[in-house]
Amino acid sequence: MGFFDRLKEGLAKTKAALVDKVTSIMTVFRKIDEELFEELEEALIQGDVGVETSMKLVESLRKEVRARGLKNGEELLPVMKELVADMLGSEVEPLMMAPSGPTVILVVGVNGVGKTTTIGKLAHHLKEDRGLSVMLAAADTFRAAAIDQLMVWGERAGVPVVAQGEGADPAAVAFDGVKAAREQGYDVLLIDTAGRLHNKVNLMEELRKIKRVIQKEVPEAPHETLLVLDATTGQNAVQQTKLFKEVAGVTAIALTKLDGTAKGGVVVAVCDQESVPVKYIGVGERIDDLQPFDPTAFVDALFATGKV
């Protein structure tokens, strides 16, 4: 199965919700009129794209329609795709890698979005698909059994895990991890952190501290700060991105749980308003259910016509 098919498969349910809606509007043979624009805006909102961004997209669509002199309703879809792809950033962005020494990736997010699971899958992906040596650091020392959970993923992916006990200083664990990865010559270190709501100042400060401390060992670390977003989340994802970006300097997003009926459309708003690129998507619970995000393929699959 090719990449595009896998993505399509993973997004099948996503599509079913957002795309069927959009295409069902489009396929009707009709003129481009006010009603059509409105229906389109509604469909976007229902896909969690958000009021503001949906209105913006439809506004751009109007301009394009005028500029290109479009008349037929069916001509709208390709234009809409272009606009959404533009918003998502139309190129595939690979993970930033350190020129030498370990690439440190700090994984952050609110509670229950799937950080630990994503790390397990990402470790597998980097090791199997890219031939890199990977190490994990269990810096979620807060949630009960989070360390054990990461250990299990470490075992599944066949990569070592640096850990201390529950309640240990997360910054200290992260530091140990970076040190071990550097000394032992690992290519990538993935740091798991505790889930925290972005409006909890103290917990967010803790992230700042983790960053400071690992920079003592590797000054340019973390090379990526990966924010994990749950596709089921509504407009709050924008706020999450904003605050995590402010505090932890988020550089990339992993969008999880796209295998449900949730549309994940909020990443469009996130990209539009916070300009952080999506790099990975999670489409299931198996270890290989993480895929590099391809904006063009995503939009194609998202707006694909016909049954999948």
Partner: protein
């Protein structure tokens, strides 16, 4: 997001040109409905739910008398607020307790909604009410989920029944039931694995557990941050299992929580509890009225008032209000207010509840330490200085700084902030009088003597 005005402000603007009109016509109301629709959508209320809701509100709003004193915008907000509250279920719903024990409660939901954490929170709550709960670990899929429940069990000192992850969940709950009977546990809380509502196999497993246990409560655990999909999730779980209630989690975030409305609307089942923090005690009953205010960005006025009432007695509050209006506010009052607020809990939480402040508060950081410094500075003033801040000249400031062990710049700042608060309070006093004139019936409750008296100890980050 930061530019959220409260719905009330938006509607007031939308209706500004209607002043002096007799009755609201359909076209008058349309603009307002647009604002309501936007506000609800921004709060993540499901699109279809919004549509129905707006239609209902519109019907009620058209033809309403616009009273001379009442602003039409405020009146529509009132209608929206009442309808929202009614929709979310009037009074708060309690947990069903079986007449003949054991009471069986099953928790289900998507991955990451907070089932395990809330099983423990619920267990603790029941334990405090004199029950003897048992938690059953039926999540055999997620790595270390059983361990997590066991650790939580230790934390709340409630036993956990588990059979490892090699036994089917149905077997585990059977075992748990027997264990509860043998050990005289009167409430059984079953923690199930997170699953997708469209996962036929795993949904079938829940149905099996249900038929084995015949639970009194099947609670759907829903993340308050859920977007439009909340409807689909709730619909599926309800259809397959017939849920009896909802626990709304992560409400301590800054989400407006429109999912609450969606879930309630499609299942018809009440939200019974809300999760408001990571601590095991952080579980509260659901209050529809407060949720309505939150969704509308009106702030959680009622909770704030309740908290305030615990700390400030009525007389004191009235006295404070009187002083405020006359702008007689001095450092003694400042200190008193500050202490009262401190007793009410973290300032950050409190300020979020003030209407209109909610959205702005996201970017504001309150330094509790700074509050201690302010207190030290005020305490370093003589009683005369506290009552007559005007006499505090540079030399006095130097002495205060030394006394409090703070740099003089901070004393200057405190004085400046105090002057600003005084000004603000004066304005609030004027507004308060206006509100009193308008406030007929069940309008918007005022804060007893608390209205934003603290521009001091926090700053923009």
């Amino acid at each position: 997001m930061a530019m959220f005005e409260s719905l009330s402000e938006k509607l007031t603007n939308a209706f500004a040109r209607l002043r002096g009109k007799g009755k609201l016509t359909e076209s008058d109301v349309s603009d307002a409905m647009r604002e309501i629709r936007m506000a609800l959508l921004e709060a993540d209320v499901n699109f279809k739910v919004v549509k129905e809701f707006v239609a209902k509100v519109k019907e009620r709003a058209i033809g309403q008398e616009v009273m001379e004193t009442l602003n039409p915008g405020q009146m529509v907000v009132k209608i929206v607020y009442e309808e929202l509250t009614a929709l979310m279920g009037g009074e708060n719903a309690k947990l069903e307790i079986a007449e003949r024990p054991p009471t069986i409660i099953m928790l289900c939901g998507l991955q990451g909604a907070g089932k395990t954490t809330h099983a423990a929170k619920l267990a603790l709550k029941l334990k405090k009410e004199g029950k003897k709960p048992l938690m059953v670990a039926a999540d055999i899929y997620r790595p270390a989920a059983i361990k997590q429940l066991e650790v939580m069990g230790q934390k709340v000192d409630v036993p956990v029944f588990s059979m490892g992850d090699k036994v089917s969940p149905v077997e585990i709950v059977r075992g748990g039931f027997t264990y509860a009977a043998e050990n005289h546990r009167d409430v059984i809380l079953v923690d199930t694995a997170g699953r997708l509502h469209i996962d036929e196999e795993l949904m079938g497993e829940l149905q099996q557990i249900k038929s084995v246990l015949n639970p009194h409560e099947i609670l759907l655990v829903v993340d308050a941050m859920t977007g439009q999909d909340a409807v689909t999730v709730a619909e599926h779980f309800n259809e397959k299992l017939g849920i009896t209630g909802v626990i709304l989690t992560k409400l301590d975030g800054d989400t407006r929580g429109g999912a609450a409305l969606s879930v309630r609307q499609v299942t018809g089942q009440p939200i019974k509890f809300v999760g408001v923090g990571e601590k095991v005690e952080a579980l509260e009953p659901f209050h529809p009225d407060r949720m309505a205010q939150r969704i509308l960005n009106m702030g959680d006025v009622l909770t704030l008032i309740e908290k305030a009432q615990e700390q400030i007695d009525q007389k004191q509050a009235e006295e404070m209000a009187r002083k405020m209006m006359k702008a007689e506010f001095d450092f003694e009052d400042f200190l008193e207010q500050m202490r009262a607020m401190k007793r009410m809990g973290p300032l950050q939480d409190l300020l979020k509840m003030i209407p209109g402040l909610g959205a702005q508060m996201k970017d504001i950081n309150i330094d509790e330490k700074e509050m201690a410094h302010i207190e030290a500075m005020i305490l370093s003033m003589t009683p005369k200085e506290r009552r007559h801040p005007d006499i505090i000249n540079v030399r006095r400031r130097e002495r205060i700084a030394k006394g409090a062990g703070r740099p003089i710049a901070e004393v200057h700042r405190l004085m400046k902030q105090f002057e600003q608060s005084k000004k603000m309070i004066k304005q609030l006093g004027v507004m308060d009088k206006m509100m009193k004139k308008k406030g007929k019936g069940k309008g918007f409750p005022k804060l007893p003597g608390l209205g934003g008296g603290f521009p001091g100890p926090f700053g923009k980050r």
